[in-house]
């Protein structure tokens, strides 16, 4: 059987989540591997969420926010960019494959971009295989 | 050998919300196994660890009396800071029929033999009335009542809505063999009882220290102001008893966190007289 990765999506309420909605309503086809959690702003994401997701068995984490400058709250995603950049460096230096974590700016009108990003990311994660580095093992 | 860390299964059979703020509830628990019930022999003043798997354990004073066979009761206040309060919150979310665990009985009890033949003054404040309720039930039981002298109770809460066990208080008021002095800091439109702080009421009631023992439980601030009243009335420190509160985990004197001096509150306490407390380091 093919490996179907489990991917956690964390999407900002105002842009990416709405963009994902648009991808759905315009009937774009994209893989179903992403399970999305909505947050009010990408800057609400605590890097521990991402570490925890990997610990609980996520094969990849995709974060979506508004384009810099378009944040609903003005500057939220500018802070988020710094936070997520550091998170990425942490994951990489700890030994996680950097391709398992991706941040994309997707606006409410970019349903097509959303579908493309999900497809591309799913394929990337698929190629990497199951994530075992952080996953909590019960034994 | 009995493993002291493994709880016994119990079922929640009744939940009573005691106060209008909804954060104090009394849980009635029935043992699932008959032999556990028989082994669970306790006296008023003892406590037990209530255990919810997945959440943890919390030490709670037993609010029922051994003279009420068939079940045990615990009155629990929902606590909560960022760091604490998981178990009490989970308890408050329980419904009748839920299965939890109980470990105990633990600790010492109110010294029944010491109290026998003496007049007993019970002083309680707010939610800390639980093991006092157990004691009152125990003393009022018809088999036990003759063993004790006069019983008087001073019980206070901030408002009428914050008094626990309202029905029982009313029933006790009607009895002749117990003198009740229920008071609130501030009454409301429907409150016909006494108004005033517990220390003031104690002064007014003015129990005689002659052959009498005071049993006192309440928030630290109440105890601090009530103690001088009893000293003034002539009570000796040996005859003023209280129940200490400390963070506990194991309940059997092993985990080491509840010690005050060389005493473990969970095992050598929680009941101490103020004379005993005087000998211990001020570390509680």
């Amino acid at each position: 059987m093919d490996f179907e990765p489990k991917i956690l999506g964390i999407a900002c309420n105002w842009c990416t989540y709405t963009g994902a909605d648009l991808a759905g309503t315009t009937r774009l086809k994209y893989p179903q591997n992403v399970r999305t959690v909505r947050v009010m702003c990408s800057s609400r994401i605590n890097p521990s969420f991402i570490i925890r997701a990997f610990q609980l068995g996520a094969d990849g984490v995709l974060v979506g926010g508004c384009h810099p400058g378009d944040c609903h709250y003005g500057t939220g995603n500018l802070y988020a960019r710094r936070k997520l950049a550091v998170t990425k460096k942490i994951l990489e230096f700890a030994g996680m494959e950097p391709k398992r974590f991706r941040v994309e700016w997707i606006s409410a009108s970019e349903g097509k971009k959303y579908a493309e990003v999900v497809e591309e990311f799913t394929n990337d994660v698929k190629a990497l295989g199951p994530q075992t580095k952080f996953k909590i093992r019960k034994d | 050998m009995q493993n002291p860390y493994i709880p016994m299964p119990v079922e929640v059979t009744k939940i009573v919300t005691e106060v209008e703020t909804n954060d104090i509830k009394t849980f009635r628990l029935n043992f699932v196994n008959k032999e556990d019930e028989e082994n669970f022999k306790y006296l008023p003043g003892q406590f037990a660890e209530l255990s919810i798997l997945g959440k943890g354990e919390s030490p709670i004073g037993i609010a029922s009396s051994p003279t009420q066979p068939g079940y045990i009761e615990f009155t629990v206040q929902r606590a909560g800071t960022l760091v604490t309060g998981i178990v009490t919150t989970a308890l408050h979310d329980l419904d009748v029929g839920a299965r939890i665990g109980v470990r105990g009985p633990l600790g010492n009890s109110w010294p029944i033999e010491f109290l026998e033949g003496k007049n007993v003054v019970v002083v309680g404040g707010g939610f800390a009335f639980t093991t006092l309720r157990s004691l009152i039930h125990y003393m009022l039981h018809k088999d036990n009542r003759p063993r004790f002298g006069d019983i008087s109770v001073v019980y206070g809460a901030r408002t009428p809505g914050l008094l626990c066990y309202k029905e029982e208080l009313a029933a006790w008021e009607k009895r002749k063999d117990i003198k009740m002095h229920v008071t609130v800091d501030k009454g409301d439109a429907n409150w016909k009882g006494r108004e005033g702080f517990v220390p003031t009421v104690c002064k007014e009631v003015g129990p005689s220290p002659e052959n009498a023992v005071t049993v006192i439980c309440g928030p630290p601030i109440m105890i601090r102001f009530t103690l001088p009243v009893f000293f003034e009335l002539g009570f000796a420190k040996e005859n003023i008893l209280t129940s200490l509160e400390m963070r506990m985990k194991c309940g059997v004197g092993k985990c080491g966190r509840c010690n005050v001096g060389h005493k473990y509150v969970c095992k050598d306490g929680p009941v101490f007289s103020f004379a005993e407390l005087d000998k211990l380091p001020r570390d509680f």
Binding site: I51, Q55, Y79, R82, V86, G95, V103 | L82, V83
Partner: protein, 287 residues
């Protein structure tokens, strides 16, 4: 007289003057421990206490750690080496201490030694600077022309590894952790109360020492110190089981410097990097 002895003498002289004149109510410096190689952090409060002050190459502690616990408006003199002074600057940036409450006694020094191993720590576990970045009084002569390589040289080996090897490396190191929290308690920047590890709602990591909990604890702590860690290396020296935490902190400090063009604790006027954003920030950093 050696440079160290001279610093010790100046330290006593200045401490005495400050306490006598009532300029400060406490001098945070170093005192005698149970032997020469094991001095202790020491808070001198009276002129008599001053005789107990010492300074030698084993006085590695970062005294900035003690600053936030004093109530505001307490006048404090604090002895700082280069990295420690950066910690003070960072604490001022984060409004944990006030510049006007401090008399900073700068110690220009190199060649400090690890108490356990006796190794010189300059660029290995600390930021490899010789002179404090901020001080009111300098206790020794400013050091010129000190070179000892970049503080990030020690990263080369780990950076050269592939991801799997690095994961294996950290797993092995974290496995040693006993959760004594010495790293967090020794750190001048770890002043949160309660720490995320103590919070029970949510419970971020297992309370008991499990490898998964260790991973969560350390990675999150690294994140919390990103852009704030001033590379004093105190966490690694405090660790009773010798986990090289400094390597991760150094890596993040290096990356943050690259990405945000700002090193932690260099200037009082700076805003801490992680509560700020810059016009020059680009999506490149997310790649």
């Amino acid at each position: 007289m050696t440079a160290m002895k001279k610093i010790e003498e100046n330290l006593r002289k200045e401490a005495k003057r400050l306490l006598e004149g009532g300029e400060v109510s406490v001098v945070l410096a170093y005192g005698r421990g149970y032997d020469e190689n094991h001095p202790m952090p020491f808070a001198a409060r009276t002129v008599e206490d001053v005789d107990s002050l010492v300074f030698n190459e084993y006085c590695t502690f970062n005294l900035a750690r003690y600053l936030p616990k004093y109530p505001p408006k307490t006048k404090i003199a604090v002895a700082v080496k280069a990295a420690d002074s950066r910690a003070v600057v960072q604490l001022i940036q984060e409004e944990k201490v006030r510049r006007e409450d401090l008399v900073i006694l700068g110690i220009p020094v190199t060649g400090m030694k690890d108490q356990k191993t006796g190794e010189v720590i300059d660029n290995k576990t600390t930021c490899n600077m010789a002179n404090p970045v901020l001080y009111d009084i300098l206790l020794g002569d400013e050091i010129h022309g000190f070179k000892g390589g970049s503080p990030y040289d020690v990263l080369a080996e780990l950076e050269g590894m592939d991801h799997d090897a690095r994961m294996a490396f950290w797993k092995k190191e974290f496995e040693k952790c006993i959760r004594c929290f010495a790293c967090r308690k020794a750190c001048p920047m770890c002043y949160c109360d309660p720490c995320f590890m103590d919070a029970s709602r949510p419970r971020w990591a297992d309370k008991s020492p499990t490898p998964d909990g260790h991973l969560m604890y350390h990675l999150t702590r690294f994140y919390h110190l990103a852009g704030r860690c001033i590379d004093c290396g105190e966490c690694s020296r405090a660790c009773p089981v010798d986990i090289p935490l400094y390597l991760f902190h150094k890596k993040l400090a290096k990356e943050c410097e690259d990405m945000f063009q700002q090193a932690a604790g260099m200037k009082i006027e700076d805003k801490p990097a992680m509560v700020n954003y810059g016009n020059q920030d680009s999506d490149e950093m997310l790649k």
